[in-house]
């Protein structure tokens, strides 16, 4: 019962804040709604018993990436520019129609997959030598998925160098 109320409250919050992100006129308001959205998604992760991911979501997404967005917005110095949503050059009707097509496609996939109650692929009962969400995740990252882990670290290094080079002031 409590889980039902919690889930519906969270869903309303997440979807409502997402709509506000996409429709707010002031860019900084949009960013604030995005932060609140990410915090609600972190709560969803806690409900799904992925507490490490919840904390990483707050730390990296809400506390790092969105701060980056906010600082860039302040440097670019956007005040609430009057952006006419109805611009003849901007075919927003086609945009909405395409988004509706995506939603229909996703709904179709859902209906198809939940209709056939396929056998849950029996995940190999890996006997983890460690207990707990963080420990098991760490174990997987460092044994089975070590190469993607190292590749991700190289990716972040490349992105860091790229961002510094791009944003550097040409003296």
């Amino acid at each position: 019962m409590a889980e039902t109320i919690g889930f519906y409250t969270l869903s309303v919050l997440i979807l409502g804040l997402a709509v506000l992100v996409v429709t707010a006129k002031n860019t900084v308001h949009s960013i604030l709604f995005l932060v609140m959205n990410f915090l609600c998604v972190a709560v969803v992760y806690v409900v799904l018993q992925a507490e490490f991911l919840a904390v990483i979501q707050v730390l990296v997404y809400a506390g790092g990436i969105v701060v980056l967005y906010l600082i860039v917005v302040m440097l670019v110095n956007l005040k609430g520019e009057a952006e006419a949503h109805q611009d003849p050059r901007r075919l927003s009707v086609i945009g909405l129609a395409l988004a509706g097509a995506v939603l229909l496609e996703l709904a179709g996939i859902l209906v198809y997959s939940s209709g056939s109650d396929a056998t849950v692929p029996s995940s190999e009962a890996v006997a983890f030598p460690v207990q707990g969400n963080v420990e098991e995740l760490g174990w997987l990252l460092y044994t089975d998925y070590l190469i993607p882990f190292e590749v991700a670290s190289v990716l972040l290094l490349v992105a860091m160098i790229g961002a510094i080079l791009l944003a550097r002031r040409e003296v």
Partner: protein, 332 residues
């Protein structure tokens, strides 16, 4: 029902009130200690030895006029101090003040990461305060302050990784119990990490010598120039609450939390009559005194020196510390 809802709510109420009262007395303590360091007496008029000054100051701030600049963004202007104060209070939910279950609100198994994550939300209060004030100096000061905060956050997080390696767990109570099992406080095995967390913590809370974003001589008061009355007092409270948070976290991670010195040595067990929370608050008080002492003594860092210290000195030392800790852990 009682156990899962009522008791934690009571604990939270006691905790929030306690922290806010402690913050007002910390303000008074700072004024007194800095005064004594400068051969004067500090506030002496209001109560016996000026103790009631702690109660009078918040009353004064509440009664002041609440000005909002004309062109400021009203919602964000009001939201910024809230975003500064609330994370500082939320962190206390996972800090264990004593050995018994009575002394902490909850013990989640990612407690230390939770603390890091919530303090990184506190950056928003500063950025929004500068932005919402719609004025040049606060905007520049808030950009500087937020850059300082996120730089030192990286250094502190990397240092905490080596502490997690030593303790083997992320939960705060687990770290103190690891120190009890090992028989010595982690300060003796990780002195470098302790110094780094101390310096990083000072920079995270905008305390001297890293208080360039809010020093009066610098950018006319920094990011809270346009704030007055209750909203300004919330920033003030947030800064001192953050100082309390850093003291508490340093005590738990490096100085044994609620344990007595050498907790496994039976010869010192005559000290066991001192309750665990007395040990904790005593050590925390010692660190508060250290922070105030540092403020009274050291001159301020210039902004480029500050950023150089954070990126070019602290982060390499933190990474080196992780490598050394990992090697030692594997070899032992």
């Amino acid at each position: 029902m009682i156990d899962t809802i009522v008791i934690p709510l009571l604990k939270i109420a006691v905790l929030v009130n306690g922290v806010l009262v402690a913050v007002t007395f910390t303000v008074l303590m700072e004024r007194k200690v800095i005064a004594w360091a400068q051969s004067r007496l500090g506030p002496m008029r209001v109560g016996p030895y000026g103790i009631l000054q702690a109660i009078v100051d918040p009353i004064k701030l509440i009664l002041k006029e609440d000005i909002t600049p004309a062109k400021a963004d009203k919602w964000m202007f009001t939201l910024a101090p809230i975003l500064s104060l609330v994370p500082a209070l939320v962190v206390f939910a996972v800090v264990p003040f004593g050995g018994d279950e009575l002394f902490y609100v909850t013990d989640i198994n990612v407690g230390l990461l939770f603390i890091i994550a919530v303090t990184s939300i506190g950056v928003y209060g500063i950025i929004l305060a500068g932005w919402a004030s719609n004025s040049k100096y606060p905007l520049l000061a808030s950009l500087r302050a937020s850059a300082q905060l996120i730089s030192y956050e990286i250094a502190v997080t990397m240092t905490l990784v080596s502490v997690i390696l030593t303790a083997g767990t992320l939960s705060m109570i687990g770290i103190v119990e690891a120190q009890q099992e090992a028989g010595f406080w982690f300060f003796f095995v990780q002195p470098v990490a302790f110094v780094l967390v101390l310096i990083g913590g000072l920079a995270e809370t905008n305390r001297a010598p890293f208080d360039m974003p809010e020093a009066e001589q610098e950018l006319t008061g920094g990011f809270h120039t346009e704030y007055s009355g209750m909203r300004f007092s919330m920033f003030f409270l947030a800064e001192y609450a953050n100082m309390l948070v850093i003291s508490a976290v340093v005590v738990v991670l490096f100085w044994g939390g609620w344990l007595r010195p050498f907790p496994n040595v039976a010869a010192l067990s005559f000290l066991d009559f001192i309750p665990s929370w007395v040990w904790f608050f005593g050590k925390m008080f010692g660190f508060l005194y250290l922070f105030i002492w540092i403020r009274a003594t050291l001159p301020r860092y210039r902004y480029d020196q500050l950023m150089r210290l954070g990126w070019k000195v602290l982060i390499p030392i933190a990474i080196g510390n992780i490598v050394v800790t990992a090697v030692v852990k594997v070899l032992l």
